[in-house]
């Protein structure tokens, strides 16, 4: 408590009483039952993306001129951006916070710009682990699964009985997807993950050749195989979204009803399914060989993408490629247009120190740190009114129940 000024008579009393010292002694923090948590979070666009792509992250890299990092980040979460950039129903844009201000960020257009930019990406050969996986069918699910297993160091071979890779995507009309674009996308995917793709393959489980008999695991891709493909006896059905562990040596990936039959706009869901399948298959392979115990953190983050270091993109001349991409693909934005669009992104989920919270806090209980890198809530005085969370344009502040 501060010293008290004693008022002895009415004439000493001011007309309009006010404090003679700070009110800091009045610690109103114990009135609070919800506490503002200032922490970076997944942006609404990413939350709504079936593949969980960190959209503000790669947009921010592009905006800052580091197109290569942006592309790498995108590819780490989505190995077929040229296809999603043309086919996906972009639920990310539906949840874009900018819709409240003017219009959503054209995520799909930027994705497509980046994809077309990186069609000639070169890679370094990555180190391998002693695991062999065969994926049968080269639909988006199979390719995605192969990609993530390849990035993790498995030796992966994709076999497709058809002459053209792409599975169900092959049947799409050329005006929906240019066959050349599909070829670019698939080529980049197999180069990045250092995997082998064999089309027109003869698959005979009754008399398996060396490849099929010596492989550690076989995965059947429902988006890559026709319905009359005869699933071998002993194949174990596996839903990547629902089933936690993988059993058997031949895994027949299966999809829930909303993803059947194949729907091209749902491509990000198939990519996510392949990604999850790869993760669970990889954990299973490691566990079976006893090379490594399954870390609980891996189970907690089922949608975590591969480490960006797993995708090794050599430095390339972005400007040359951009010029080439523009010449190649009609309808793809040029670099300038794409950069303009990335500048509109609010980077939701990431505090950019706009300090709206600081100016709106009625109790002056949230402030910019001395080193000016973050805001801090004064929990001794914050009453938990929640105005900061309401005003935060990026959803970084949320009101949480917390034990004191």
């Amino acid at each position: 408590m501060q010293l008290k000024k004693s008022i002895e008579s009415l004439s000493d009393l001011p007309t309009m009483p006010s404090t003679i010292d700070t009110m800091a002694w009045n610690q109103t923090g114990d009135w609070r039952y919800l506490t503002p948590l200032v922490a970076n979070k997944l942006a609404p666009c990413s939350q709504n993306c079936p593949a969980g792509i960190p959209i503000p992250g790669y947009l921010s890299a592009v905006r800052n001129g580091d197109v290569q990092s942006g592309l790498t980040l995108l590819l780490a979460h989505n190995p077929l951006p040229g296809l999603t950039g043309r086919l996906c129903y972009h639920p990310c844009q539906t949840k874009c916070v900018r819709r409240k201000i003017d219009r959503a960020i054209s995520v799909r257009k930027i994705e497509r710009f980046l994809a077309d930019l990186g069609t000639d990406v070169k890679i370094e050969k990555s180190e391998k682990i002693d695991k062999q996986v065969v994926v049968i069918g080269s639909g988006p699910l199979g390719l995605s699964c192969a990609f993530y297993l390849g990035c993790r160091g498995c030796r992966v071979v994709v076999l497709d009985p058809c002459d053209q890779a792409g599975g169900a995507l092959v049947n799409l009309l050329p005006k929906k997807i240019d066959p050349r674009v599909m070829a670019y996308e698939i080529n980049r995917l197999i180069r990045l993950a250092d995997i082998k793709l064999e089309t027109g393959a003869v698959i005979d489980f009754d008399t398996p050749g060396e490849l099929l008999s010596k492989t550690d695991l076989i995965i059947l891709d429902p988006t890559g195989l026709s319905e009359d493909f005869s699933v071998p006896a002993g194949a174990v059905a596996f839903n990547p979204f629902d089933d936690e562990t993988v059993a058997g040596d031949i895994i027949a990936a299966k999809l829930s009803n909303n993803l059947k039959p194949f729907k091209a706009p749902m491509i990000a869901h198939y990519i996510a399914a392949g990604h999850l399948a790869a993760q669970k298959v990889f954990d299973c392979l490691i566990m079976r060989s006893g090379q490594r115990g399954l870390a609980p953190s891996d189970l907690d983050l089922p949608r975590q993408a591969v480490n960006m270091d797993d995708i090794k993109i050599e430095r390339f001349l972005v400007s040359d490629l951009a010029a080439e991409a523009e010449a190649k693909q009609e309808g793809t934005w040029d670099r300038e247009r794409a950069l303009q669009e990335t500048e509109r992104c609010l980077s939701c989920g990431t505090c950019n120190l706009c300090l709206q919270c600081v100016s709106f806090c009625p109790d002056a209980s949230i402030w910019l740190d001395e080193n000016k890198t973050a805001v801090t809530v004064d929990l001794d005085h914050c009453k938990g009114c929640g105005i900061c969370a309401y005003e935060c344009p990026r959803g970084v502040i949320t009101m949480e129940e917390m034990s004191t």
Binding site: I7, P17, S18
Partner: protein, 387 residues
């Protein structure tokens, strides 16, 4: 300069002449013209002030309180439902001792919906601590707003200037508009000694324990009581500048009156005509206008009503289950001051009915003769009620 203007136009003009610095208001019939005119004046650059459009009357008053605490001369206007929505902030303004001046355009409260004149809206704010003044004509509106700022800023209490909806707000009369220079001399800029100041941070309106609470309230009560005198002093100063008088109590033929008709607002004009007619009939009648209701101008009232034997109060409002609100005020003022005095209350003109000589005279006759069931029972007489 003389102009023909309505009460609403006058109110806006008065705020401009007072050089208000912040206007924050929410439109409502019959007040809208005031804030529209002020918005125009500010938009055109005729009045250098900040106009703050808000989403409600509650916020309008909150803005005025904040502006006034920061040392600005603040103005707002409201009416009826808007005024009652502002109620919480009215208490705050008086408690915070901010000299905000507000115009209220008296209008009936719903339901049933009625946009016309009725004093219940402002009289229901009697106990908020605001000084309340009820205008009689358009000139009174202009002059009272200027006097109000003078009084408010001396005593640090808010003032509500009441205009009767449509009777005053929308009726054109001749107005003598004073020179801006003359007004500036009468009303210098507001310069509070204690205010919100980023260079001298303080907290206002903070917690107060039991030790000082009563003293703070008592001090405010004393300051409010002294406003009757302060108003008359300021009005006298106004008279010396502009040669027009506006005291807290206005009398007409009360010196020898046995019957004194008391009222507020524009109907006091009709009361004076009624006095003339009743005097022709041989009745020693007089009339008294309470320009101020809070503080109750007890000194002026006692002086004027000293000879009356029968006081008749015309109320354009009602406190349900009791009687007219002004009648209650007058009854309280007479208690213990005058023996053998009779009081009759009339409820007339609510919801926009005109209070004319023809309304008042028969009611006075009925009250004096004691004829009629209502008079016999000693209850309040209602005009314009179905049989």
């Amino acid at each position: 300069m003389k102009k023909i203007v309505t009460g609403n136009e006058t109110a806006a003009l008065a705020a401009k002449l007072a050089r208000v610095q912040v206007v924050s208001a929410y439109p409502i019939t019959p007040q809208t013209v005031i804030v529209e005119n002020l918005a125009d004046m500010i938009g055109q650059g005729e009045l250098k002030a900040k106009y703050m459009p808000v989403e409600s009357e509650h916020s309008a008053m909150a803005c005025c309180i904040g502006a006034s605490m920061a040392g600005a001369r603040a103005f707002t206007a409201s009416s009826s439902q808007g005024l009652t929505y502002m109620h919480e902030m009215l208490h705050y303004a008086a408690g915070a001792r901010v000299p905000v001046v507000m115009v209220n355009c008296n209008r009936a409260l719903a339901p049933p919906w009625n946009l016309y004149c009725d004093h219940t809206d402002s009289l229901a704010q009697r106990d908020t601590g605001w000084i309340q003044y009820y205008c009689a004509d358009v000139q009174d509106v202009l002059d009272a707003i200027l006097i109000a700022y003078g009084v408010a800023e001396q005593t640090l209490l808010p003032v509500m200037i009441n205009l009767e909806g449509f009777y005053l707000t929308h009726t054109s009369e001749v107005l003598d508009v004073p020179d801006q220079k003359a007004v500036d001399v009468f009303l210098p800029p507001y310069r509070p000694s204690n205010k919100l100041d980023v260079d001298d941070p303080k907290t206002f309106g903070n917690v107060c324990g039991t030790d000082l609470f009563a003293s703070i309230k008592y001090k405010r009560h004393c300051d409010t009581l002294s406003v009757e005198k302060l108003w008359d002093q300021t009005a006298a100063k106004f008279y010396s500048h502009f040669n027009r008088s506006h005291s807290a109590v206005e009398t007409y033929q009360t010196e020898d009156a046995n019957v004194c008709i008391v009222g507020i607002g524009t109907a006091t004009g009709a009361m004076r005509l009624a006095v003339d007619r009743l005097r022709k009939e041989g009745l020693k009648a007089g009339s008294l206008r309470l320009a101020m209701i809070r503080p109750f101008p007890i000194e002026g009232f006692k002086k004027a009503a000293i000879n009356a034997e029968h006081v008749i109060v015309v109320d354009r409002d009602v406190s349900f289950g009791a009687e007219g609100i002004v009648a209650q005020e007058v009854r309280a003022a007479l208690f213990d001051h005058h023996k053998d005095i009779k009081l009759t209350g009339f409820i007339a003109g609510i919801g926009g009915n005109d209070i004319s000589v023809e309304t008042i005279v028969p009611l006075v006759r009925q009250a004096i003769s004691g004829d009629g069931a209502a008079a016999a029972a000693g209850t309040t007489l209602w005009a314009e009620v179905l049989p």
